[in-house]
């Protein structure tokens, strides 16, 4: 069985100086939920667009479902379904009309199309709302319509580009259940990009962490967390005293990846419990007040920090600054 996705040294640059993809190498096995985790601006959407034949990379090779995306983009489009980051349906048409036109675009017509449209409406629970304008749908309903459109051509592979961004927690939970069901019932390969740690953690069987146009780590969430040995210390300072706190911690052994922003200090230690007293003593000696302390087992956040060299939260903040 060929891999669902093979990408070799894929690069794409947006003029003047945004290197969106900086040498992506990737193999995705068929039949799993493959999560792609990264902060905003890491290159997830660009990579998704390249795989879906929506855009052409500057260099590199890409195949999806065994088809060369650059040589046979139309075949790839037949084999996949895409649910983009933005709502992909026409708000001034009904749910059914959106599905019909999408089916026609895939060359599905007549009775086959009508029965598939009904089947998908039923599947996503929109049968009653089928003949209402999408404009009147809730965010969750519009998203479910997007999924129905993505599945209409019975794709071998479904691409979900940040499917839960902008949904309220309830709609997000429904979406998670739907995605899991798809993977279990239909044995479909699902590509899922997200910037929610917990989403990647709970849904993805296999996970790639993307940072600045590169894949910095790949494996199952558990595997990745195991590779990050040790614990994380989270210390909340009474006042933001970054320099003195850093000076204090420099004297403590068994600490790595020390990061401080405002009052939030975080560091990694092989044995968190045993290192904690030394940390507290050092801070005390520099008369840095401590408000609270927690010791945590590794999370994907730590995995990200370890491979990307900076925290996820910080990357998100920076990307917002760039956007603003």
């Amino acid at each position: 069985m060929p891999a669902a996705i093979e990408a070799r040294d894929v690069r794409k640059r947006y003029p003047p100086d945004v290197q969106a993809l900086d040498g992506i190498d990737l193999t995705v096995q068929a039949g799993t939920i493959f999560g792609v985790l990264g902060p905003n601006g890491a290159g997830k959407s660009t990579l998704t667009r390249v795989l879906c034949s929506l855009t052409v990379p500057d260099s590199g090779s890409v195949s999806v479902c065994g088809i060369d995306v650059l040589k046979h983009p139309v075949q790839v489009r037949r084999a996949i379904g895409l649910v983009g980051q933005k709502q992909g349906s026409d708000p001034n048409a009904t749910g059914r009309e959106n599905l019909v036109i999408h089916g026609e675009f895939h060359g599905i017509t007549g009775r086959v199309l009508r029965s598939r449209v009904d089947e998908q409406l039923e599947r996503v629970g929109l049968s009653d709302a089928a003949d209402r304008l999408v404009r009147t749908y809730s965010g969750g309903m519009a998203r479910r319509l997007d999924i129905a459109m993505g599945l209409l051509n019975r794709p071998q592979m479904l691409f979900l580009d940040e499917p839960t961004t902008g949904l309220d927690p309830e709609a997000r939970a429904v979406m998670w259940r739907d995605i899991e069901q798809l993977a279990n019932d239909q044995r479909m390969t699902i590509w899922l990009t997200t910037h929610y740690m917990e989403e990647a953690d709970s849904l993805a069987a296999e996970l790639a962490i993307v940072d600045r146009g590169r894949i910095v780590a790949q494996g199952s969430p558990d595997q990745l967390k195991r590779e990050v040995s040790g614990d994380t210390l989270h210390v909340e300072l009474a006042e933001p005293q970054e320099e003195r706190a850093l000076a204090a911690l420099a004297r403590v052994g068994d600490l790595s990846d020390v990061e401080i922003r405002g009052r939030a200090l975080r560091a990694r230690a092989q044995d968190g419990g045993a290192t904690l007293p030394a940390v507290l003593a050092a801070l005390e000696a520099e008369s840095v007040g401590v408000a609270s302390v927690t010791v945590a087992r590794p999370s994907l956040d730590d995995v990200y920090l370890r491979y990307a060299g900076h925290s996820f939260e910080q990357a998100e903040l920076e990307s917002e600054e760039v956007a603003a």
């Binding site: 667009r49 879906c52 034949s53 929506l54 855009t55 052409v56 139309v74 489009r77 037949r78 996949i80 895409l82 983009g84 980051q85 933005k86 709502q87 992909g88 349906s89 026409d90 708000p91 001034n92 048409a93 009309e97 019909v100 036109i101 999408h102 026609e104 675009f105 895939h106 060359g107 017509t109 459109m149 051509n153």
Partner: protein, 256 residues
């Protein structure tokens, strides 16, 4: 076959929006109606200028039909701006749809809308007392000339829409061309009464091709030689515009 089906679907999508809000068609008609009523009254005395033939209403009606084609189809590209911003465009491009259908369907709709609008304007002109010497056939040819111009303008507007991706770009471009192209034609003033340089420029102005063709078809005993030449030019323009739109769509996709 698939190409025709897909074009038809895009056309239907546009048509459904119109059916749900027919008022929109009337809104784009307000301007031509005002032009017809106001300018026909305002310039009535133009007919008294030595060298002007016939009534101003008869002279001006083909001009209004052509102007409405230009004005109505000019906004076609707005639909693509909305589709790009809403994500519909991305979804369409990720499907194996024949790319030409996206433009062709919108162009077909623009031409259709202009045919309906032209019929309403012609009805109004009849009420006001216009005399269509070209008969029913001549009037139909005039409407088709309007539809051809609309098709060309629609393709160009769609190209501007996908390249600019902003409403402002479409609005700016359309506003920039509308009035100058109208005034550099014989739409409002007989050729012999225009300054010489405008007469020369008008030869290269598609709006003037349409005005001359429409007038020769509907307002006199149809002069098929004049009509045929202008229709030929307009058909060529429709094809060139469609080609440019196709290039614009390809360029848009590359920029993603």
């Amino acid at each position: 076959m698939t190409a025709v089906r897909q074009t038809w679907q895009v056309y239907l999508r546009n048509l459904r929006v119109l059916m749900r809000q027919p008022a929109f068609l009337l809104i784009t008609l307000i301007q031509p109606v005002i032009w017809l009523l106001l300018f026909a009254a305002l310039f009535k005395a133009v007919a008294d200028i030595p060298g002007f033939h016939g009534t101003y209403l008869n002279f001006f009606t083909p001009g209004v039909v052509v102007m409405l084609a230009l004005f109505s189809a000019g906004w076609s590209g707005m639909g693509f701006v909305e589709d790009i911003q809403s994500g519909v465009m991305g979804r369409q491009l990720a499907s194996p749809v024949w790319r030409g259908a996206l433009n062709a369907g919108a162009v077909a709709y623009s031409a259709f809308a202009v045919i309906i609008q032209a019929l309403l304007i012609i009805a109004l002109a009849l009420i006001l007392g216009a005399d269509f010497k070209g008969g029913v056939i001549g009037v139909i040819v005039m409407i088709l000339i309007g539809a051809l111009l609309a098709a060309a303008v629609s393709s160009l507007s769609n190209a501007v829409g996908v390249l600019g991706r902003q409403r402002e770009t479409v609005i700016g471009t359309v506003s920039f061309f509308q009035l100058p192209l109208t005034f550099l034609s014989t739409g409002m003033m007989q050729k012999s009464l225009l300054p010489h340089w405008i007469q020369e420029v008008a030869k290269f102005n598609p709006i003037n091709w349409a005005v001359v063709g429409a007038r020769a078809a509907a307002m006199q005993r149809t002069d098929w030689g004049v009509v045929g030449a202008r229709v030929g030019l307009l058909v060529a323009l429709v094809l060139v515009s469609a080609f440019l739109a196709q290039r614009a769509f390809a360029r848009y996709q590359r920029s993603l």
